[in-house]
Subunit: 266 residues, 2 copies
Amino acid sequence: MSATALIAGAGALPRLLIAAAPEMLVCQLEGFEALPGAEVLRFRIERLVPFFDALAERGIDRVCLAGAMQRPRLEPEFFDARTAALVPRLLGAMQAGDDATLRAVIGLFEEFDFEVIGADAICPDLVPGAGVLCGTLSAEDQRDAARAAEIVAALGAVDVGQGAVVARGLCLGVEALPGTDAMLDFVAQHRALAPAPTTGVFYKAPKPGQDRRIDLPALGPQTIAKAAAAGLAGIAFEAGGVLLLDRDATLRAAEAAGLFLWGRSR
Amino acid sequence: MSATALIAGAGALPRLLIAAAPEMLVCQLEGFEALPGAEVLRFRIERLVPFFDALAERGIDRVCLAGAMQRPRLEPEFFDARTAALVPRLLGAMQAGDDATLRAVIGLFEEFDFEVIGADAICPDLVPGAGVLCGTLSAEDQRDAARAAEIVAALGAVDVGQGAVVARGLCLGVEALPGTDAMLDFVAQHRALAPAPTTGVFYKAPKPGQDRRIDLPALGPQTIAKAAAAGLAGIAFEAGGVLLLDRDATLRAAEAAGLFLWGRSR
């Protein structure tokens, strides 16, 4: 029988997954606030290989990495010899950026014979597929979503943000380091430039080539509030590529604000 | 001998060109505020072919299109038969976007045997080539400019903005419809996310494939003030691809603010 460990970072996602599968072993980096799992195992990056051993001893063969992880500081005195041997690879990946770091971490788990699974394997409702979840969208909205998807793909190719807003073909905002909320605030501020009121689609997708098993972009009630304040018609996202956190509250908020939520096929 | 007509839109550029070449015939769309040219010829889009005739009668064989032009409303009763025959082409281009409209207008001038020249042919100082105009740039600044140039090229390919801000490799902002000033204000607002104070390069370039003879993006003293407020180290731009309006004031402002200005070779 297969047993799963949750490698939990910060944010709402780990708690949602623990609620969906309370039998999972929960693993947290030292220093994070304890999660309410049945059993919590603490680990350190400096002792990653002994941590892999501990997982195997408990019969774990699948892991799910979920939640935000900041790059930890490394304390030289904590390293064991086998983990120390991995450091050059890890440092090289860290210097090549967040995506490379995550790919390297996934690669290590796989080398040690763990299957890495996505959050949707534990809780399929978290990652909606194709289809309209609420509201209605027009042919114009579909065209705006297509143009925004094209812009996000172009940006992703140069490793920039995962979102853009398009209204009747005009690009009102593009996501960068400050993130989704900051971009939606920016669009709200410059809303007067839009060609008509209550037009425009916020589109969200993972970066092209991103491993869909970790670090998917997320939508939640806060996104709905910001999109409504920006005067948009709705939110589209890549089907199977975005986490819908707090689904009920998000759908209620979207319906109350008159926004559509649409999982768009690639 | 060659005689040049300036087809003048709004903004500072037409006045700068008239000051540099006061002998030019100045042509303005009906309804624009009169410019101080030696001679001003008014024209209407609905009577474009008679306007071409009027230019040829005056011995004009070169035209320079300069300054912002909004898409005019067309009044059916003003059309002459020859211009009316061009309408399907012009409307098709207008519906395909600003770039297509400009290409169509250039194409029409050329069909009627006018050479279309850029503002730099009249006033070379307006379009700086490669080299540092003021301040000093570090190897890090050069890397930031290279990354920003890559982002702007990716965006240009999907017909979005002409600028981006990168600080130590991180993209702090990307230009969209609201324009340069709005993006620099956005970066100022989210400056705390930057990896270090007084880092970051704002890079500006024309869209890839854009006709370099018209509608170049512009930098001026206002850009310097906004970039300084955003805490940047400097401004880089594509050599030969950006108008430097009010060069003296811009350089003075950049020097006072401690910003570099760098024309970067493609």
